[in-house]
């Protein structure tokens, strides 16, 4: 089985999509010779030329709006937003145009747009280069939202996102770019509304996604050493949510810990928490627990940033606490 990083598999996938479908195009800042700030598009300009790999000025609003125009014209644009933080400049086209076209205009309009956001903290990039805003998009009807964790999922969900006829916000975590995992060549097809069970367990369910799913898996190993078996589910598809998989697990374990590195208030952990509660409250043996960042901007200082974001240690700790609680 080949071992590969998220950065490399994203690059391979983009190349494969560009090869397979002449309507696929990339747009973004510095995605040409530079290969994008994180090297994801490296080499693609050379291979596919400037008609397919369109390097843009720094104009996030205009670029996302243009991608919408291209998408309704039969192209499949994939836009890279260098840091998710900059999507604040493109909320209007995403929310007021892309998200609404299909519902309002009906079948005549489809908007197969993928917006790749480089999200998340942990690299010391500071308050305006460490955000993700996934919750905003989940709160925007008409957008699909995906945040892969496993390396294989980076390929499979990106492929699914490109194939999808709807606008998809695709969150990539910068800490995963250099993360390496073996990836089987033959993999089942993955849909945009599916969660992934990372490992089985019966004591509690840990729900996480993106980088936090990696931390959760590490936490689960540590918990196992203490005799606690945690079922880790990589939620990965944030809108729509695969509540069936989640509820099935929770109804077996009776305990659930939801982990999100975003600020706590009105985050996705709250939504999942409510839905679990709504569907599975009679199975709960302990209160649902959220482990998130506090409601603060992400500080740049490395030790402060570390304190801000959940990690394997704090996840394991929260899980232990949960095991001690009685409903």
């Amino acid at each position: 089985m080949k071992t590969i990083t998220a950065a490399a598999i994203l690059r391979e996938t983009l190349a494969a999509e560009l090869t397979a479908d002449p309507t696929v195009m990339l747009m973004g800042e510095d995605i040409g010779v530079y290969g994008g700030a994180f090297g994801i598009t490296r080499g693609l300009l050379d291979r596919f030329g400037p008609q397919r790999v369109i390097e843009t000025p720094i104009s996030e609003n205009g670029v996302v709006g243009m991608a919408i125009g291209a998408a309704i014209s039969g192209c499949r644009p994939i836009v890279e937003i260098m840091f998710a933080d900059f999507v604040t400049l493109a909320m209007d086209p995403l929310v007021n145009q892309a998200a609404k076209l299909r519902y309002i205009l009906g079948r005549q309009a489809s908007c197969p747009l993928v917006v790749r956001l480089v999200a998340g903290g942990g690299r010391g990039y500071g308050p305006t280069h460490s955000q993700g805003f996934a919750a905003w998009f989940v709160h925007t009807p008409g957008l699909k939202v995906v945040a892969p964790s496993s390396i294989a999922d980076h390929a499979d969900l990106l492929h699914a996102a490109v194939q999808d006829p709807n606008p998809v916000v695709f969150l990539e975590h910068k800490r995963l770019y250099g993360w390496r995992e073996p990836v089987p060549a033959d993999r089942p097809v993955v849909g945009l509304e599916t969660a992934r069970t990372v490992n089985r367990g019966h004591d509690l369910t840990i729900l996480a996604w993106s980088w936090m799913a990696v931390e959760a898996a590490i936490a689960a190993e540590r918990l196992a050493a203490d005799g606690i078996t945690a079922e880790v589910i990589d939620v990965r598809c944030l809108q729509p949510l695969d509540m069936a998989t989640i509820n099935e697990s929770v109804q077996q374990t009776g305990r659930v810990l939801i982990v999100d590195e975003a600020p706590r208030s009105a985050g996705i952990a709250a939504e999942i928490g409510c839905r679990v509660f709504e569907a599975s409250h009679e199975y709960l043996e302990a209160p649902i627990r959220r482990l998130t960042a506090p409601d603060i901007p992400v500080p740049a200082s490395p030790p402060m940033e570390q304190l801000t974001l959940p990690d394997a240690t704090t996840i394991a700790h929260a899980a232990m606490g949960l095991m001690e609680t009685l409903q």
Binding site: G65, G74, C75, I104, L105
Partner: protein
């Protein structure tokens, strides 16, 4: 370049202008009567710009509109029944009643839609032009926007990119003197929108937006340049809306004389005089055309009145394709 429009086309254009005028006047009354709720922005007085620009397009071309979009839609051949039904929020409306005045489209005729966001269609239109380039299509995209919209940042972003990449797009600013209550003199530094084209090294042009032929000429030339690969043009059409910005606007921000002066330059009357002079229209024919037009609008109203509401069971359907 000197060009002229055939008599037949001029006549058709005149009829289209009448249709728009009568449609809008009727919508105004329907609002006052409480038959239509929500909001609508009427283009009474701006018909020459809509029709003159749209008739310069080919069938394969596309256009994007604004919040003030009924005229553009009708100019492109939108069905008055379905537009009216949309205003009523009825089932056969272009958006099945979901969009209302500011959110309807007919992609089959290249009408890519009104837009509730001031400036919102600038980037979409530019992207459509980009796609046409990539797809090697001969399509040119016409982008309507207002003087107010030209102050949105996205205007700058799109003109820059369209110019850099010589995209086949025509940016047409309907300068009706005001963005809601904000006069151009207080909102456009430097005074001219067309002149802003120079900043991007593209062609810019001002024209009389109440002169259908002038608008047609400007857009025809711009369209040709765009199609040839010579890039975008920014056209500023000077025109005027007689009505308020939207329902319930008392127009306190402009002097009554101003409207009187613009009435003298009414695009429809002017066109009528020209057509009579040229013998395209014969005396008295106007009455007949008006009657036809009113009947057409009445039919649209009757259609909308009789149309059903959207199905309750459809409410949550179709969010995703």
């Amino acid at each position: 370049m000197s060009q002229s429009i055939s008599a037949k086309k001029l006549r058709a254009a005149y009829q289209r202008m009448l249709l728009i005028r009568e449609f809008e006047l009727r919508v105004e009354r329907l609002f006052l009567a409480g038959k239509i709720t929500g909001t609508a922005h009427l283009c009474i007085g701006q018909e020459a710009t809509a029709v003159g620009a749209v008739m310069a397009l080919r069938k394969s071309d596309a256009l994007t509109s604004t919040h003030r979009g009924h005229g553009h839609f009708l100019a492109r051949g939108g069905n008055p029944d379905r537009i009216m039904a949309e205003l009523y929020g009825k089932r056969s409306g272009y958006s099945g009643g979901r969009g209302g005045s500011q959110f309807m489209a007919d992609y089959r005729i290249g009408y890519l839609g009104a837009n509730g966001i001031t400036g919102g269609s600038l980037s979409v239109a530019t992207g459509v032009a980009l796609a046409a380039r990539l797809q090697n299509r001969s399509r040119v995209t016409l982008c309507f926007f207002g003087d107010g919209a030209s102050n949105q940042g996205v205007f700058h972003e799109c003109l820059n990119m369209a110019a850099l990449w010589k995209l086949p797009v025509v940016f047409l600013c309907e300068n009706n003197g005001y963005a809601m209550s904000m006069p151009v003199a207080r909102s456009i530094a430097g005074g001219s929108i067309a002149r802003r084209a120079q900043a991007y090294g593209i062609a810019g042009e001002e024209t009389d937006g109440n002169d259908l032929e002038a608008v047609w000429r400007a857009v025809t030339n711009a369209r040709r340049r765009a199609a040839k690969g010579d890039g975008p043009t920014l056209i500023e059409c000077h025109t005027y809306r007689y009505c308020g910005h939207s329902r319930g606007d008392p127009c306190v921000y402009r002097a009554p004389q101003e409207k009187v002066a613009w009435r003298k330059r009414d695009p429809i009357q002017r066109m009528r005089r020209i057509l009579l002079t040229r013998g395209v229209l014969i005396s008295g024919e106007h009455q007949r055309l008006m009657q036809e037009t009113r009947r057409r609008v009445q039919q649209a109203v009757a259609h909308a009145e009789a149309d059903a509401w959207p199905k309750a069971s459809s409410l949550t359907k179709g969010v995703f394709a």
